[in-house]
Symmetry: D2
Subunit: 334 residues, 4 copies
């Protein structure tokens, strides 16, 4: 098995949107991200404590979803090792120029077809003007605008075969499996880490049998209270809250799920002080019976969690967050 | 209309339980209350910042539910005014000795038959030993055990006719209506305050048509994070979480609902810095359509909220919190 | 003694500034207040959950300090009672037109000369556009900008004779004394409430022997975490932090003290769920020996707390927050 | 330079105490740790989310201070690599049996003489009874008692020569320097990490010129609010608060420093969601002028931070936390 830390961390992710202006407003005003350049149909946006230039690359496209996920390697040597391993799988696509501020990136896909890239060379972000932080051990001034997400946290992919994706992430990229959903018919979701966080990337089964979709992208905030504030702000901004705030059973992170205006699912997440420090951590497997208990404090997993992804498929294509079929008109007691 | 502050505050409430030992453990170990004396089949318990001797009187009884609710009057004169007004309604039952540490109490019922009492004379709680607080402007040392509820917050009664109860509370006791649920067939719930809190007592329609039941009793904690911790602790203590944590649309308090071992619904609640300071506050009415949107961030009001109360009636009598008919075995993605 | 609630609450306060543009930026961008009209040299600003039109009236003036403090009466009758009592003291100045959105105000001073007003008639604030809140039981949309102060909390006056001021506030306005500093030479500070909050107005001894100065004006936020965020934001905005965050021994509120660009001291404050509900609360007196222990967790009261007020007097007039004479260059260990 | 993750994490630390019973009470009742076995003069204690058996080994001794610090290696191979490197320095002492539940440990010292050990083989903690957590991805039930520290966070050593210690930790153990204090006369403190946390071990200059002392041991809690609660609880338990709560400039963690009954300095710490993910992080150096600004929000570094360590030396030996020379009897305003 490859060394755990050849991939240093999840770096930046391209999100696709068919509503670029509304999404830009969502990421800047609601999430509190900072625009950091444009290129073609893309706007580069950053969370205030990410040390590189870009957290997400928001690209206008015919349909929402996820473009390339970029991982940073731990060293030039680690990069070479991972590229060799990827090439051996036949999933490699070759070297390309990186996004502005990034060196050469080796592009590949996971078995499900999600586009990925790995690179080592990078420029550190250099803030100017009001963006210079008061404390120099911080990447950028804290914006104090909307949710003010601190950093990218993890990505969750929908895919046809979680096992093939998981094995690729573990055996080729060097991830460590920390938790899994194991139903009667096999692994339905697998959480992997490249760091001391509980997870950096997740592959879950797409019940529609579609390849290459996004389940959600997650940003970390500093406290559970910040997640609650994100919900307060969603209400004021008219942002669609899908579910939460609540505590996940898996990984125990505190979550809120919202949809960006294009329907991409975004999580705001806080893990408290939880880390996975054991180098020999064994995967924690959750059965169907255990999942039936809902999230940590009993909230049932919302049904759209099993169907909605981007781009939408089938019935989902007509769905709108504005209609709420579960409305209960009999609310006699609050 | 009587002066708002003739009733100074909700004081202490008698809870009935057919599982006295398990309930005592729940209130002391989970909620972090302090035992402060016994009398007959009753145990007196206190929250750490209530200034009087008793927060709840836990009484062994054949069935769970609520016994007497005690209100403290704002002055001896205010007490006389309220007693005269109550007597005029015919709902008075006369003067009795108060619980230990309390002076004479005038006992009455609301139109629905919930037993109530109003008094002025009281002894302030005097802590000893480890219960002496470090800061003398605090009633008792902060226990740091379980939820550590700070003070009683409010009570919510189920009743046959919310309007009659509401009018009694407003016109006879001097409460101010702050919010209401007004469905097509009339008022289904009414929130009233005697203080600058958003509410101290609530009367909601009992869909079973039963009189005198308890919807819930609520305790205040200092922050929304404390409510989240209460949920964490409920999980570890095996306490049944009915719904939450989430934010109420009505009054915007942050809530968690659990059941004590006898089935009495208990809320842990934090209002943030919200107060009702306007002396001419107008009731905020919520329609069926508005209630159908669920709680503030979209959580649907749980169905048991419309049926479960104590003592249980009808089907509820056979119900057990252990069985969860909403279990979802298809939770492929978390 | 007059009824406690004849004064319903502290309403809005006029702050004077010789740096009106910088102060406006401070209140809008740092504190997150909303501009709500202008008149002459004044800008009206509001906190998002205050139900009336104005929280502070920021007025350009040759020197910083406090202008008129406005209190709302609990009813037209309460207003008449208080005006009669004030007139009897000879401190009344007569009726005037109120600020925009307010009815007639009776103007007077406390014995120390701080200008005050009391009124009953008022218009409720009516938000439009983006300021309309998602939940209609809230005065205005939550801004999510900077500190986002929720409501005015209290005012602390410096004065020559705390006892005379305190007695006026208690005997003429109807306040209740909740806590005091009682040094060997008498009362040095007195905290009074008109509500169920621990305090609404404080009179403390001005060691410079000057009349009519402001010690600080305080705004409430929803949690202690919000106070910490206010400190994070002060750092990024270049706002002078005088002391805190820490917990007061007196009243146990969690505080941060900053200075607006004109030097007016502003507190961000959270009391948790603490209220004073007892109608017969007895003043808690703190001696010099008790005060010498510092704030609740041991922070020594900062020396400028005993000298700085607005307008500045004596040496203070040359003082600048930028110079920090306590700097410690020997900080070998953090 | 050795690979960053050959040392997987700081594991468990032996603390020495001349007041073993009082210290046990402090760690169990105030910090909320769980006793997990005894051996000779030692009691093993654990934080609820540490996956191994021991977090601290509390050993009765003539004087307080730090015994052995144990690090877990990332793999058997990593262990062999580190042992070879240590042996090459001449600081190795050889293999010993580990504490109960741990395999063989290679014992050595840093250049300053602090005893250390590194091992790979370990048993995972297996809770029983009430200590079994509700969620199986957690090491032990959340205690809900006192501070309830989650896990060990870092250790800070006092030493004669920070540079020699730092170079040893970097070049021999494989740590990465993240931040430093660099005064005119050289490095006065150096923060190193073996993980994605900002720091796991710190070496600071001992101004008394003594070798082998402890500055502090730190435990992580889940939120800044938990640190505030730790201060509230310290007050009630009579625990000496040395300084805080406040935010460190260095590493930006939110801190509270208390002393155990033997005088060992203990920190309660929360970093928010901050991590060091960059594999090429460059040390952030802080000058004397920068340190003179105090901690992040301006709190001056307390003088005892530069003198107090365990075991005490010189004047410190007579010092008592009960006497507070900075007391200010002139606290006219709060």
């Amino acid at each position: 098995m490859p060394p755990l830390h050849d991939i240093a961390h999840l770096a930046h992710v391209e999100l696709l949107t068919d509503k670029p202006e509304e999404c830009l407003d969502f990421y800047v005003r609601y999430l509190g991200m900072t625009e950091n350049g444009r290129s073609g149909d893309s706007v580069f946006l950053r969370a205030w404590d990410d040390y590189e230039n870009t957290t997400i690359k928001l690209t206008a496209a015919p349909r929402p979803g996820v473009g390339r996920t970029n991982f940073r390697a731990g060293s030039p040597e680690a990069l070479q090792r991972r590229v060799a391993a990827i090439e051996a799988t036949g999933l490699g696509r070759g070297w390309q120029d990186g996004d502005p501020g990034y060196g050469p990136v080796y592009v590949f896909t996971d078995p499900d077809g999600h586009e990925m890239g790995v690179y080592y060379e990078t420029e550190w972000y250099r803030p100017t003007g009001d963006l210079v932080p008061a404390l120099k051990n911080q990447a950028q001034a804290y914006p104090g605008r909307g949710v003010s997400v601190r950093r990218i946290d993890h990505i969750n992919y929908l895919g046809v075969d979680p096992v093939a994706n998981r094995d690729f992430a573990r055996d080729v990229l060097g991830g460590m499996i920390t938790e899994q959903i194991v139903l009667d018919d096999g692994v339905a979701g697998s959480w992997l880490t490249f760091t001391n966080k509980g997870y950096d990337a997740v592959w879950t089964r797409d019940n529609t049998g579609t390849s290459g979709r996004l389940h959600h992208l997650s940003f970390a905030v500093d406290s559970r209270d910040d997640v609650l504030k994100a919900a307060d702000l969603a209400l004021e901004h008219g942002v669609h809250i899908e579910t939460g705030p609540h505590k996940h059973t898996i990984q125990q992170s505190f979550f809120l799920y919202v949809w960006d205006p294009a329907g991409n699912r975004i999580e705001l997440d806080n893990p408290g002080a939880r880390l996975v420090l054991a180098p020999d951590w064994q995967p924690v497997d959750w059965s169907a019976a255990e999942r039936a208990k809902g999230q940590a404090w009993g909230l049932q997993t919302i049904s759209t969690f099993h169907t909605h992804g981007t781009p939408p498929v089938g019935e989902e294509q007509e769905e709108s967050p504005a209609t709420d079929p579960e409305g209960d008109a009999h609310g006699a007691a609050r």
